[in-house]
């Protein structure tokens, strides 16, 4: 919605009044975070020339691809004024189950493994969805609970055994790393999913219903939107994408461990929130989330490159997140003022 609005307006105004173009560009919600990324890139590349290399950027893209996929799922949930804290445990459980199957039946076609992962993820996501919609449990509570339940299932399932690299078929490991199209598959998957989600959120009624439900649930019901179904759907989608991410995770890291993706849920929320997704629902865009994930990836990458001591890295990361959020708000306020 944001893009539609702002881009449309920017377009309209730019044609009428040339000087206002840059001001109007600033209205774009994503402008603030882009600016921050730009500044960061310039600063870091001044200190560390290794930063501005194609290889390094490929590393960054590889590293944020899974984050992007799950953050997009998280975004859809956040738009409905929900939150899914269980994505990390879904990834852990699905990765473990798929890896076990692949270890057991190495001949399993990769395509089936991916489908299996998505199916398992969807079932887990629908558990959240059912508890939240028909059980009337607040999302943060329901998914906080299912986070520990799913993680417990990982332990129960694996009985402490890990799946190691040598136990996984080679073609499965290539699923994320192969580069038949010039870019690593992982990055391509992330791009494809981003495009799909963008189209879904903008050009389908169901996608718009997600915004409507998050913006005003009562009104959505008045308008004949089946809010329960929409909410159930976003949690199922969240499970589905997490399941897909789980398969990619197992493929990229060539292992499944009991603590796979532990704590990952906070990263997805952070990426979404930095990308301008409102935690009170109704607002959020795909480009914003992509930028949010990119910012996180760049921060992580650059801190190591500019040789900030490992011990201070986390502090710097937190500080940068705070600065990003504060300056974003400041930029937004300026924009609002200019509008009036």
């Amino acid at each position: 919605m944001n893009i539609q609005n702002t881009a449309g307006e920017a377009h309209k105004k730019a044609t009428t009044k040339k000087t206002g173009f840059w001001m109007n560009l600033l209205r774009v919600r994503e402008a603030g975070i882009s600016l921050i990324i730009l500044i960061l890139v310039v600063l870091v590349s001044l200190r560390a020339p290794a930063f501005l290399t194609a290889d390094n950027f490929m590393d960054i893209l590889m590293n944020i691809s899974i984050l992007v996929i799950v953050s997009l799922a998280q975004t859809m949930v956040l738009i409905t004024h929900g939150i899914d804290l269980s994505v990390s445990s879904i990834i852990g459980l699905v990765a473990m189950m798929v890896a076990f199957i692949l270890k057991q039946y190495p001949g399993t076609p990769i395509f089936s493994a991916v489908l299996l992962g998505m199916a398992l993820g969807t079932v887990l996501g629908s558990f959240n969805g059912l508890v939240i919609t028909f059980g009337n449990v607040p999302p943060i509570i329901a998914t906080l609970g299912s986070q520990s339940i799913f993680r417990g299932l990982v332990f129960y399932y694996s009985q402490g055994t890990w799946i190691n690299s040598f136990e996984l078929p080679a073609n499965f490991k290539l699923l994320s790393k192969g580069t038949p199209l010039g870019l690593p598959n992982l990055v391509i998957f992330a791009v494809v999913i981003a495009v799909l989600v963008y189209f879904f959120l903008k050009y389908t009624r169901t996608g718009r219903d997600i915004y409507a439900v998050g913006s005003n649930p009562d009104a959505a019901q008045f308008a004949g939107i089946r809010t329960h179904r929409v909410k159930l759907l976003v949690y199922m989608l969240s499970g589905l994408l997490s399941g897909f991410a789980a398969v990619l995770w197992a493929s990229r890291f060539e292992s499944a461990q009991t603590n796979t993706a532990l704590g990952f849920e906070l990263q997805t929320v952070t990426a979404s929130v930095i990308g301008g997704v409102s935690t009170s629902g109704g607002a959020g865009t795909v480009p914003g989330v992509l930028l949010g994930a990119l910012l996180l990836g760049i921060i992580q990458n650059s801190l190591t490159l500019v040789r900030i001591s490992a011990f201070w890295q986390m502090a710097a990361q937190g500080l940068l997140i705070l600065i990003a959020v504060i300056s974003d708000k400041y930029i937004l306020e300026r924009v609002e003022k200019i509008k009036k």
């Binding site: 398992l120 609970g145 520990s148 129960y156 504060i326």
Partner: protein
Amino acid sequence: MKAENSQELKPETLIAEKAEHYSLSTLFKHWEWMLVGLIIAVVLVNTNLSPYFLNANNLSRTSSDFMEIGLMMLPMVFIIVTGNIDLSVASNMGMSASFMGLLHNMGVNIWVAALAGLLLGTLGGVLNGYLVGRVKLPALVVTLGTYAFFRGLAYGFLGDQAARNYPPEFTYFGQGKVFGTLVPFSVALFAVLAILFGLVLHKTTFGRYLYAIGNNENAAIYSGVPVSKIKFRIYVLSGFISALAGLILAARFGSTRPDNGTGLELSVITAAVLGGLDINGGKGTMYGAALSLLLIGLLKFGMGLMNIQSQVQSMVVGLLLIISILLPHFVSQISSIRKDRIRWKSILAIVAVVLVFAAFFAFFFWSRAAVIASV
């Protein structure tokens, strides 16, 4: 309700000054009673299952394990009542304790160091409070940032070092018992603070303002409630108490490392929510929160005695969290279902859902059995 039903009602009907009385049945609908019931059940079951459960020494030792969570829960209740959240408490705790440890390692007097730790923690709260209260950023976003920032500072302070050799006067706060009893000092401190916080929440204007903000922030602003000032204060308070919890933890461990207490914020929130606090604000009580802490503590201790694995323990708490909200809703739902409105479509949906989950678990166990057989 009586007035509404009466036919001869005139607009000038006066209202009563007080509700006449609460019937016993409405009393028992309160979540807090459910907690009391659960606690009694847990005590009875555990007493029967384990001879070590009702043992003063054991209870005394295990109770101090939950006091850091308990302490941080107190201001968290305030914050959740206003509809906000503080994810940074555990990180703040680590930061303050590490700072104290750093100063201690540098040879600073322990009390000065502790004071400095408290001060830093409070400053952390000031940062949160400023960003949430004054700059008006969403609490979730702010504290997600400070969650990383504070923990990072903790690592920055101590790095791979530990602070140790705290003097016994200091470790008393974590390991000592109140003179002449088996009650650990930290438990006594928690009890006193819990009563104090409970009184503030339920008996003061400040507490009333918290509920007003949580229920309708805009209306509270229009009514002259100093909303941003109050938000600022509760975050500062949260920072201070987190630092205090950090010191207690350091005293209990007799040492400090920067990763101390990682992940405790989720336990804190879990305890608060299980205590009946509405995560959206405006609802819940301090005694509910305190009871839920007691419940979780007794439950975990009991399960530990039965050698139930830690993952299963956290699964049980997770299930309890969901069921505690799910169950009352379901009961009221089921009782309000009208038979003539049941459609075959919804029955089909339920059957489908059950089948899907059955299939999931069938697969879950089938694949696992194959794996175990191969090991």
